[in-house]
Every structure is written in structure tokens, then in C-alpha cells.
Amino acid sequence: MFCLSKIYNTQFLNNLKPIIEVNHVWKEYQKGIDRRYKSLRDTLVGMPNRLLGTEKEKFWALEDIDFKVEAGESVGIIGRNGAGKSTLLKILSRITPPTKGEIILRGRVASLLEVGTGFHPELTGRENVFFNGSILGMKHAEIKHKFDEIVDFSGVESFIDTPLKHYSSGMQMRLAFSVAAHLDSEILLIDEVLAVGDAEFQKKCIGKMDDVSKGDGKSILFVSHDVNAISNLSQRGIILDLGLKIFESNIIDALNKYVEITSHNRNISLNNSPRIGNGIVRISQICISSISNETSSFLKPFDDVNFSIEFAYNKESNLREIKLDLGINNLAGKRVTWMTAKKFFNDEFNQSRKIEFIVEKFPLVPGEYTINLHCEVNNQIADWIKNVGEFKILNNKYFDTNLRIPQGQGDVQLQYTVK
């Protein structure tokens, strides 16, 4: 009795703990060729630089990633190329260690960064199933036990003793997927492997994996930029961008957010915004983009930022002078800064119909901001829109110190040196 209750207790406690805990994980890589192998000559040539400490240009591929996955939960990690998804998955799979932070995995892990890892063309289907299964962490007895099931599932029974080189690529894929789908583990890490293979079989695999997840309380961590696959498999979504976790919520909200951020750089159409003014000239669009970091839709501290405001108006009107005020408020509604510009309706302006504010090394502290646009034409209010174009400055490393500004330390950050 005593033993039984004790076992029950520990299991109960373990079930309470999240099955995956990612605690403040950072990963640093070196920029440029250094990530690849090099010849001795490169090292010797690089020696003087290294001694002077000037060579290494590093960047954070992941910064302070922090999340938990409960038992039985499926989480999708979304992000575009270079967001750090694959790096995160590699760290979770223990292929590469984190630079800082720690991950706790409570359960047996099966990691599928690729299907058919280690498949050899000279070996038969049977032999490849055994080797591949073993490499994925299955025991010999386990593979033997499941062998018929794996072969059945793949639908290549008649070729199982034929060398793999005589298989079509589709057949190889099916066999590889079958092995993967039969992995017995509490945690399943899947990369964008499902993007290949024929659609019918894909569905079958997703179904099998879904069974795995829902049936036995197993957890799946799924990495992709394929929105469809993610929404099929996951309940919760985490968005990564530029190595940062920028959003975490249920899968529907996460996918909406992802679609929003990937569809063009902060291009906000203002045609339906509530506004005041005589409407001779209307602000049609505002685009906030980072000049230094074109790939991102988010701003990093001290990015060079371009605020581009486009206007719609009828050229025939008697237009002389346009004055545009751009105010930036923080989320508390407090005005933190203000910019203004004055232009004449000359040919050049009529051509572009655009005013751009370019701010070098944008100095606001990380946080979310909204914009007020106030446009006067011929000294009369033409268009006035409040609280549009919400944008976010990521809480990123401060002055390359890899530190962050604590909360509540004012509105601006300074570029300073310490002597």
C-alpha cells in the first residue's frame, strides 16, 4: 500500500511539472565563415586578429527564450527564416548546446529534424528500418516488435528486402516517415519535415502523430513556417523573430499575429480610421520600418527608423503648403516625442505624395508605442488621426552588453560611453 501511494504521488507531482521547461536560453554564433570548418591556414592567418581580440563578430541566434510545455500539449513554433526556430530545435534535440540558460525535459525525447537520417542506399529497406530506428533512439527489441506495423504503415511490404537505391523517392519517404511515426516517446520534436512526401501519406502521418499526442498524453513541439501544418497539430503557438520570442498564445491568435507581421513591414492603411479634419488631404498610409534591419518587422533599440506617411488628395484643389506633425505616445498615453515637417505642394511632392521622417538611432526605450498624425493644409486641419500605427521596440540587448534595460527606467535611452 505504502509503495503504491508513493508511486502515485511522485507521478502526480511529475505530471504537475511542465514536460518541457525552457529557461532563459541564449545561443551565440559567430558571424560569417567561422561557422563552417576552416583550414589550418585560416586559423594561422586569423591569429594576429584573435590575439588583439578584434576578430570575433558574434551574434545572438536566440535571446532569452523562455517557455513551458505541459504534458499532452502541442506547441507550434512559428517564425520566418532566420528567426531562430531551427536553432531552438537543435538545442532541444541536444545537437548543439545553449550558450546560456537551461532546458529541462521530463520524458523520453524523440527528435525528428529530418526523416530517414542515416538511410543508406546499399542497405535493404529492412536493414534501414533497423538502423534508422536505432539512431532515433529505439531499442532493438522495440524495433523488432513494431517492425511489421512499421512496414504495414509504409505500404512498401513487397520491397522490404530490396536495397533502398531501387526505391522511388516517394517510397523512401514513406518508409522513413513510418519509422518516425512509430517512435514511442513522451516528447516529440518535429522540424518542417512534413513539408515533403505525398499529400495523402502526409495526412496519414499527421493523423498518426495526432493520435500519439491526444491518445497518450504526449507532447509535440512543432517548428514550421507552414501555417497549415502548424494549425493542424498545435494548440498553442509561439512566434520567434530575430531570435526573440515575440508572441505566445493559443494557436489561432498566434497564427493571426504571424500573418499580420509577415504581411509587409508595418504598413498600416488608414483609410478606415476615425479622424477629424476637412479632408482636403487625407493620410492614406503609414509605414514604419527599420532601415538597419530590413528583414524584421520589429524595431530593435537604436535602429535607424523610417516613418513614411503617404497622402491621398485631389490635385486640382488649391493646395499651397502641408504641415505634418507626428507624435509618439507610449501605451500609457503619455507623449514621449514629437516630430514635424513642412512641405509645399510642388511637383516633386505631387509625384511622391509622401513625407518621410528618418530617425537615426531611434532612442526610445523598448516598449509599445502609438502614433498621432496631425496634418494641416493651408493652415487648416485637414486630417487628424489618433493612436494609429502601433509599433514595438524589442527589449533587446542594450549597447551590445547583452543586458536589458530594467522596467521603469524612463522613456529614452542614451548613447553613452563609460570612461
Binding site: 583550414s39 548546446p97 529541462i104 498524453g217
Partner: protein, 283 residues
């Protein structure tokens, strides 16, 4: 859920650990790796396993013709073919194991980048694969011994010989593993290993008594170098125990041989373990 829960904690790379326990957990993978390598190797060649026997047999013939017949070098109580064959077998074991192991990390890069397992599995399996060839070619060796006991009535102490073979094998494999593992770790970062290796192997061949006996070396310091070579010890140990003529089991062992073996092993393991964590990033 399962009876016990496996907890894995992933942290920045620890300073140093041998990871014997983990390696033991992955023993099945080690078996499969070796099994796969052997299968693949013999599937691609039409004559398969015959090559494993043919290659030392032809080299032995050349040695006998050149050294015994041509130069008239005597090999004592041991018949020349047996004398040269065992040298060749030990040398081949070493040569293949080192070459194979040092390229193993790079040639398995696609697996290293996708799946986690203790990386030492790879060079160990390379060494075991070469051991398979050695064991197969021992058939040739024993066959030749049986031939000589019948035709020339040479007295062979089978137990002593087999025991010395086992020890000779262990010494050779251990040395090859150390050197191969060390080179495989270096090879991940510096592909220069590819160019250094043939030269290194050739140099080692000259200081290994495959074609000659250490006793013919006159110059003391050259003799010292030879005596530091663990392979020299392995080959002499076996050659000494082929016939019943000597009562001494061990050859004159230099105190430094075990030290050389252990030192090589430590250098290899430390180098490998230190760089292992980042193999996937740079390979």
C-alpha cells in the same frame, strides 16, 4: 505514463566529463553503427569478404619473396610467411582503424547534424568495424599455422599464442582508437588532417617492425623510438609466442609503452570531449 520519468537537463557545455555511463546507454546504437558499416562495406564489393583475406595474403607473398628469398633475411624459428603475416595483420588493423576513425566524424556529418547521441559512438564503431576485418583475417593466420604444424611439424603453443594475440589486439585497437579519435576531432575543424594522415601513416609504418625485427636495429636512440611504439610491443609479443622455443611470455617491455598508450588515450579523449559539443555547428 512510463514507470519512471527520464529527466534530461540541457545546459551550456560542462567543462569535462567522460560520459561512460551515457555511452553504455547507447551500446545498441554502437552495435547498429558497426553492423551497418560492415554490411555496407561488403555489399558494395563483388568479392566481399574475400578481399579481407586476399589483401594481406598478397602482401605477405611479396614480403616473403622480397625479404626472405630476395634479401635472404631469416626469421628465426618462426616460418617467414607466418612471421610477416602477423605483422601485416596488426599493421592493417591499426592502419584501417586510424584512417577510418579519423574520417568518421566528417563522413557522418549529416547524422551528427540531425540526431543527438554520444559522438564517441562514431570513432568507436569505426575501430570495431576494422576489428571485424582483423578477426576475419585471423582465419588466414590460423589456417597457415595449421598448415605448418602438419607439413613441417612446428610445435605451436596455441593457448599462449591466442592469449598473446588477444593482448596484441587490445593494445593495437586501443592505440588506433586514441589516434583516430584525436584526428577525427581535429578533422571536424581542420580538414588538413586529410593531407597529414597518409604521411603520418607512412611514417608510423617505418617505425613499426612489420618488415623487420627490432633486434636488427643497432643505433640506440632509434631503438628507443621503436620501443616507445605500442605496435612494436604488440607485434613482438605475438611473434615471441608463436613457437614453443621461448619460455618468456612478455618481450622486454619498456616502462614507457603503457605510459605512451595512456597518454595518447587521455589526449584523444580530452580533445574529443572538449570539441564534441560544437561538432554540429562547425562540421
Amino acid at each position: 505514463m512510463s514507470d519512471h520519468i527520464n529527466i534530461t537537463i540541457i545546459r551550456p557545455k560542462k567543462v569535462f566529463s567522460l560520459g561512460i555511463k551515457e555511452l553504455w546507454q547507447y551500446r545498441e546504437l554502437l552495435y547498429f553503427f558497426t553492423w551497418k558499416e560492415i554490411k555496407v562495406r561488403y555489399k558494395q564489393a563483388a568479392l566481399g569478404i574475400v578481399w579481407t583475406l586476399l589483401q594481406p595474403l598478397s602482401m605477405m607473398t611479396i614480403f616473403v619473396l622480397l625479404l626472405s628469398e630476395g634479401l635472404g633475411i631469416t626469421t628465426g624459428a618462426v616460418p617467414a610467411p607466418i612471421y610477416y603475416l602477423i605483422g601485416l595483420l596488426i599493421w592493417n588493423l591499426f592502419n584501417h582503424a586510424v584512417t577510418h576513425a579519423s574520417q568518421s566524424m566528417v563522413s557522418n556529418a549529416n547524422i551528427i547534424k540531425k540526431i543527438y547521441f554520444p559522438r564517441l559512438v562514431i570513432p568507436i564503431s569505426a575501430v570495431l568495424t576494422s576489428s571485424f576485418d582483423f578477426i576475419v583475417s585471423l582465419l588466414l593466420f590460423y589456417g597457415l599455422l595449421i598448415y605448418y604444424t602438419i607439413s613441417e611439424e612446428i610445435a605451436i603453443s596455441w593457448i599462449k599464442l591466442s592469449f598473446s594475440l588477444l593482448i596484441g589486439y587490445i593494445i593495437t585497437v586501443f592505440t588506433a582508437f586514441s589516434l583516430g579519435t584525436f584526428l577525427s576531432a581535429i578533422n571536424v575543424k581542420y580538414r588538413d588532417v586529410r593531407y597529414v594522415l597518409p604521411f603520418l601513416i607512412q611514417t608510423l609504418f617505418f617505425i613499426t617492425p612489420v618488415m623487420y625485427d627490432t633486434s636488427i636495429i643497432k643505433q640506440p636512440w632509434i631503438k628507443t623510438i621503436l620501443e616507445l611504439n605500442p605496435l612494436n610491443f604488440a607485434i613482438e609479443l605475438i611473434r615471441n609466442n608463436i613457437t614453443n622455443t621461448t619460455n618468456i611470455f612478455w618481450p622486454d617491455i619498456s616502462f614507457f609503452v603503457p605510459m605512451v598508450i595512456i597518454l595518447l588515450y587521455l589526449i584523444a579523449i580530452v580533445t574529443f570531449r572538449k570539441t564534441e559539443a560544437y561538432f554540429a555547428d562547425i562540421v
